[in-house]
Subunit: 436 residues, 2 copies
């Protein structure tokens, strides 16, 4: 382990180039699998076959729902995980002398919205110039392809790693983080984890803690001929949403005292993602439910934030002249309830990645930059609960969770190279000895 020789480096970089078209083909295959929540089994079968093909020890890892509520890495689940399982690939060296590594990527994706609004059908990946389009292309199937093809390149260059490496292809990142939680809870740890989320080739210095809620408010339905006798659950929901903007502002205001977050535009980033209310066009709505997420700061206890949120909603409901005419709004926790993490500066892992980033890039490229990402990342699971240095670093992508999601292929190539060089340096390499 340690710095690579120029020859080692060049051979690995060349191997990434050689296989890159094949990598784009694999990425396209991943995108074709519409791996929405509870529909990840097709893409996981593809990953499983891909890893088996490469000689990894592969296991399907079910999520043990009994751990939810008992192990702190888990968040509340609202669905069955019968068809949602991790794929774990492990390769152990014949003799281990380097530092072990986990490469993690999630395979679950978010819905597309109306596919007619997309330039290309979201599950029929299209290469247009330097971009590959498709839902999940950036977030984060490109990263998964980078992890697998980076390790491929090391072997194609004639080297094997001298420390154990694991690939964690996980589910549930977009909602609960319970895929990564399960991987960790099963005892799979390492000296570092790298997660190639789409980060514009930057390193994540810290992320936010996040809690995901659903609020249901019941109104008093009525006929349009006597609306004044009713209370619209929709109008009550709108008022609660407006009130929650005050909570967002309050939590955002705390940033001044928070390391790394003081210049983040909107760390709380209250997002109301869905709403569903009423049952008839000409009735005052009897019920309305909306779901969303809100963030806070590394070091904050997420369960304390949950209490703060619930108290805020209860007070807002009690004080609003309309909402107070409804039963108390019901707050449910339907996704991640997790702390944020900080990648403390000056770690060995970061230094090795910075060097790999530089070596993978053109000589005039900027050195590795770090920034704060105000959202949930599976890195928080490995970092918060096991203290593993967690590097989130991946390609340039645009429109993630949006329309016309796309990933930059030149960026993906550079990132794949950087990951390959990082893995080789971190774990160490030696020439593959061929059996006689």
């Amino acid at each position: 382990m340690g710095s690579l020789s120029e020859t080692e480096r060049d051979r690995i970089l060349a191997a990434v180039d050689t296989a890159f078209e094949s990598q784009v083909g694999f990425l396209s295959d991943l995108v074709r699998c519409a791996s929405l929540r509870e529909q990840e089994s097709e893409v996981q079968q593809l990953v499983e076959a891909t890893l088996l093909d490469r000689g990894y020890d592969v296991q399907r890892q079910m999520i043990d729902q009994a751990l939810i509520g008992r192990h702190p890495a888990f968040s509340p689940a609202t669905v069955s995980y019968e068809n949602s399982w991790n794929v774990i690939g492990v390769r152990n060296p014949s003799t281990s002398q380097g530092r072990s590594l986990i490469l993690n990527a999630h395979v679950d994706i978010v819905p597309t919205g109306d596919p007619k609004r997309w330039r290309y059908a979201p599950f029929e990946p299209v290469r247009d110039g330097e971009w590959l389009y498709g839902r999940g292309s950036g977030d984060m199937k490109a990263g998964l392809s980078a992890a697998i093809f980076a390790l491929d390149a090391i072997r194609a260059a004639g080297f094997e790693l001298t420390a154990p490496v694991q690939i964690h292809s996980v589910v549930e990142e977009e909602i609960t983080g319970n895929g990564a939680a399960m991987a960790l809870a099963s005892g799979m740890v390492a000296d570092a984890v790298l997660i190639p989320e789409p980060t514009d080739e930057k390193l994540v210095r810290a992320n936010s803690g996040v809690i995901k809620f659903a609020i249901t408010v019941d109104g008093k339905p009525a006929h349009p001929r006597e609306v004044s006798g009713g209370v619209s659950a929709l109008e009550a929901a709108m008022r609660l949403i407006t009130c929650l903007r005050e909570l967002e502002e309050r939590w955002n205001a705390e940033r001044e005292a928070k390391p790394f977050f003081d210049d983040v535009d909107n760390p709380a980033a209250l997002t109301i993602g869905t709403i569903d209310g009423g049952e008839w066009i000409a009735s005052v709505p009897s019920s309305c439910r909306f779901e969303g997420r809100i963030g806070f700061y590394p070091g904050d206890d997420p369960h304390q934030r949950v209490k703060e949120f619930e108290a805020f909603v209860a007070t807002a409901a009690a004080e609003d002249p309309l909402v107070q005419r409804c039963p108390n709004p019901a707050v449910e926790w339907v996704g991640v309830v997790h702390a944020g993490y900080v990648l403390e500066p000056e770690s060995e892992a970061e230094a090795v990645l910075a060097e790999a980033h530089t070596d993978a890039n053109a000589p005039d490229a900027s050195p590795l930059q770090a920034y704060v990402m105000a959202c949930y990342l599976d890195a928080a699971v490995y970092s918060v609960h096991a203290g593993i240095p967690s590097l989130v670093y991946g390609p340039i992508a645009e429109n993630i969770h949006a329309i016309d999601e796309r990933v930059s292929l030149p960026s993906l190539r550079r990132v794949t190279k950087a990951i390959a060089l990082f893995a080789a340096s971190w774990c160490g390499v030696r020439p593959i000895e061929h059996a006689s």
Copy 2:
């Protein structure tokens, strides 16, 4: 025709009493049929069998969708009417000398909301004291039972009407009015129509014109880590809903110049009945759709109001700093687009009903009162497009379109009596001659 003799009256009133328990049983059977939109065929089969049993000429009347857009009584349809058909029962006298009559009632009902919030299961009618509970009990299956059992009582008292009578058991009142429109467009007219909607034993003097809309607004979806790059379709929808309250206020303000409406609290009664937006808890919503209705005044051209509404939405969208960042909201017309009507005072039909009301009630009861109902009623179809005097008069009910809908059984009994006396007076009666 003309005033009934005391004997005739007493025999008819006694016949209503005699059959009343049977009527409540029939009403309960009607309520057991969950005749939501597109699910009316079960209840219509029951009505059909009931009318056949009584010797009416009965037809199933399909809605001819080709008439929609061509005949002015019809409103836009968004569903197939394959399973939604009217039942028309007609009885013609051997010789006709009186005034003909249509008794109309709609069988469609609105959704219940969460049945757990009901005291009794909404489709398992329960008699509790003077009330019968159940969705549709008041709006308006009680009225349908009153129409059928009022005519039964006349025959049970030994009389037959001396003018044609029709029972229109129609669909679609709660959304488009296309059931009544079809009955009228098929050429079925009469000298008066009576519709026993739940009116607290009062007569409707006028109703509002109503238009039913759906508005879809598309936003710019985004990931929570970059919310500022997105535009929430939900937030845009909330702003449009807030703007529409201004339109409601503007239309309400017109009431001062409108006969009968000057003391109506909220004639426009903008009701946003449903909302559905977003596709993922942690994405800025890409789209949001809400549906609702708004009212105006008799004499107003509903198509002019449609244009006014569309122009208002377009202007509001263009002027709002957030909504203007979205594509133009799409306004669809998904239900009734219909004018209101006025029952001009001092009609012969009203005078006959007033007398029947008095005769059906205790001596100290108040005389027939008239009031304005700020909602759509099928009476508008018969009144506006055929100039038929349209009497909307029915029992006391509570919580229509709400939770724990119920109808007063003593009130239903009185109304059934009033309808029986009205029909007998309006159409005329003579003793049934039994075939030797």
